[in-house]
Symmetry: C2
Subunit: 90 residues, 2 copies
DNA sequence: TCAAGCCACGGCTTATAATCCGTATTTTAA
DNA sequence: TTAAAATACGGATTATAAGCCGTGGCTTGA
């Protein structure tokens, strides 16, 4: 149900297949664990920007080519709802 | 020295200031810890794509507006150099 | 002056990203 | 069909992203 991760994973898979690379070899090129790469493509995990850049590099594209428009994503509130720690300014 | 993180942090700070928001209030809007937001802007930490989207949303811009061109970044090899686990196909 | 706003920075903890290795299942080509 | 390639998926561990709370330093306006 991770909308963002799912959209990214779908884009990665499409481009990878367009490049004719199997998942495990692609993971190797990107310098990412093969099992983790599977999870990324399935949208099961939330990746770092650094991983995004590795993957884009392996696909020879810009990171933005893998990212959905922000308007298409509704991100759910943080797990630890961050409670102010900011003085009210009446 | 994290080139990517530093570039992103710089972009975020610029846009935040352009919006006239102090760091702590901005962190609040983005739903991110104030102290962590400071580290992000200083380029001390590697963030997830999900955080990138939160920040972009708070800045009312697309994530790509915060990301440097891939050609301007040389990413260093993974810490755990991922050793094949892939059969040779001689 | 000093109070308040803004930011840097620290130590510590908690959540989770990422790895490693194995095996089951599906897909594809001969 | 069936063997091999490609992928799914699992458990367990390690690395690190992210949160929490405090403090200190700097700048500016009252």
């Amino acid at each position: 149900m991770e909308e963002l991760a799912f959209a990214i994973g779908k884009n990665i898979r499409e481009k990878r297949r367009a490049n004719g690379l199997p998942q495990d070899r692609f993971a190797l090129v990107a310098g990412i664990d093969r099992s983790y790469m599977g999870r990324i493509e399935r949208g099961e995990v939330s990746i770092t920007v650094e991983k995004l850049y590795r993957i884009a590099a392996a696909l020879q594209c810009e990171p933005v080519a893998l990212l959905p428009k922000i308007s298409s994503i509704h991100l759910q509130p943080p797990h630890k709802a961050n409670k102010s720690s900011l003085k009210k300014r009446q």
